[in-house]
């Protein structure tokens, strides 16, 4: 019984670290990407304001694309944090 608890604790700890890394690194990357893109957009808009509408729609497209990878990692991280399938496997193995 004690080993089971240890096992569960181990899995939870690693999952927490993994989820934290996923969310944090994803956020880091998305922030850098968004910052680079935003600065370039503003530069371009400053240089050629007549291109604003075209650039703006493209920018929002890219915002979504950049944001998406972060949000996917956030989703998987949160999924692991709250309903850990690995933990479920250990539980069913122990219960069975």
């Amino acid at each position: 019984m004690e080993t089971l608890q240890q096992l569960i604790g181990n899995i939870q700890a690693f999952t927490a670290i993994g989820a934290g890394l996923m969310v944090g690194l994803g956020a880091l990357g998305a922030c850098i990407g968004m910052g680079v893109m935003g600065s370039k957009f503003l530069e371009a808009a400053g240089r050629q304001p007549e291109l604003m509408p075209v650039l703006q729609s493209r920018m929002f497209l890219l915002v979504g694309l950049i944001d998406a990878s972060f949000l996917i990692s956030l989703a998987i991280g949160l999924f692991f944090a709250f309903s850990n399938p690995l933990l479920q496997a250990v539980r069913t193995a122990a219960g069975g």
């Binding site: 497209l61 694309l65 944001d67 998406a68 996917i72 989703a75 949160l78 999924f79 709250f82 309903s83």
Partner: protein
């Protein structure tokens, strides 16, 4: 569901992640997620009736307010399609309109209060209900797979079977590295629908999860957490509205781009 008072945050979220399912056959695959199907079909019917009611009596005279709005949406989609695909296509416009509106409506379920529909349905004895169909990988994969099939169909139609096979085996590195070419093309081919589906799914799923977390904070019983939760829920709701629109837009644009790419030679 009446015993939700001692429920912890983890249990609350796990409970909310459960689907209303019906087993239609043996094995894990043959389960139907009734909630996903029901909500998406309801929206499909709503969109069809809404657009059809205006399309049926569409006239070139002075448009009513509703018709003007519908035409605004249609023109927006048409403009996006024409930006990407220069040519005559009877499929791309309607496809883009369908994808955009359907995904948008299904995404919009996300900003409804997270507990509203499950709680209301729990009065009728429904245990689990997930209201956002696009936060289900099945929905997004269904759409991206349909688009994948259309991509292949249009590739065949534009290039012929031989031409397409030739492209698959010789495209990036020339005819001497045919297996490698095949592998690259297969990866490219598969990665498109997977990334398309995962992007929408991940966004909506994360949005839902964050809403659940914040709702859990609101219900945690502490005044500070309650305040934080309410503020966070509002802020995330506003951000989520932006994401919803952008993701619907991206899904539409990328579907159109994939199908348009399939029709032109490299």
């Amino acid at each position: 569901m009446s015993t939700e008072a001692p429920m912890g945050l983890s249990e609350y979220i796990t409970h909310h992640l459960g689907n209303l399912t019906v087993q239609v056959g043996p094995g894990g695959f043959w389960t139907l997620q009734v909630d996903t199907l029901a909500v998406s079909l309801i929206f499909a019917v709503i969109i069809s009736l809404w657009l059809w009611s205006f399309a049926r009596r569409a006239s070139s005279g002075v448009p009513s307010r509703g018709q003007a709005f519908v035409e605004l949406v249609v023109e927006f989609v048409d403009g996006q399609v024409k930006d990407v695909f220069h040519g005559d296509s009877r499929l791309l416009g309607p496809l883009a309109l369908t994808v955009f509106l359907w995904v948008l409506f299904m995404n919009l379920m996300d900003v409804l209060p997270i507990d509203a529909i499950p709680r209301a349905l729990s009065l009728f004895g429904v245990e689990h209900f997930r209201a956002v169909p696009t936060a289900e990988i099945t929905t997004t994969f269904a759409m991206s797979l349909t688009i994948f099939v259309l991509t292949i169909f249009y590739s065949f139609r534009a290039k012929g079977f031989g031409g397409y096979m030739k492209e698959v085996f010789t495209e990036p590195f020339g005819p001497w590295l045919a297996p490698l070419n095949l592998l690259m093309n297969l990866i490219e081919m598969v990665s498109k629908p997977v990334s398309l589906a995962m992007r929408l799914f991940g966004n909506m799923y994360a949005g839902e999860l964050v809403f659940m977390l914040l709702a859990g904070m609101i219900g945690a019983g502490s005044a500070v957490l309650f305040g934080l939760g309410v503020v966070g829920y509002l802020a995330w709701g506003i951000f989520e509205l932006l994401i919803i629109l952008i993701q619907a837009f991206i899904f539409m644009v990328l579907s159109v781009v994939y199908i348009a790419m399939a029709q032109q030679h490299h």
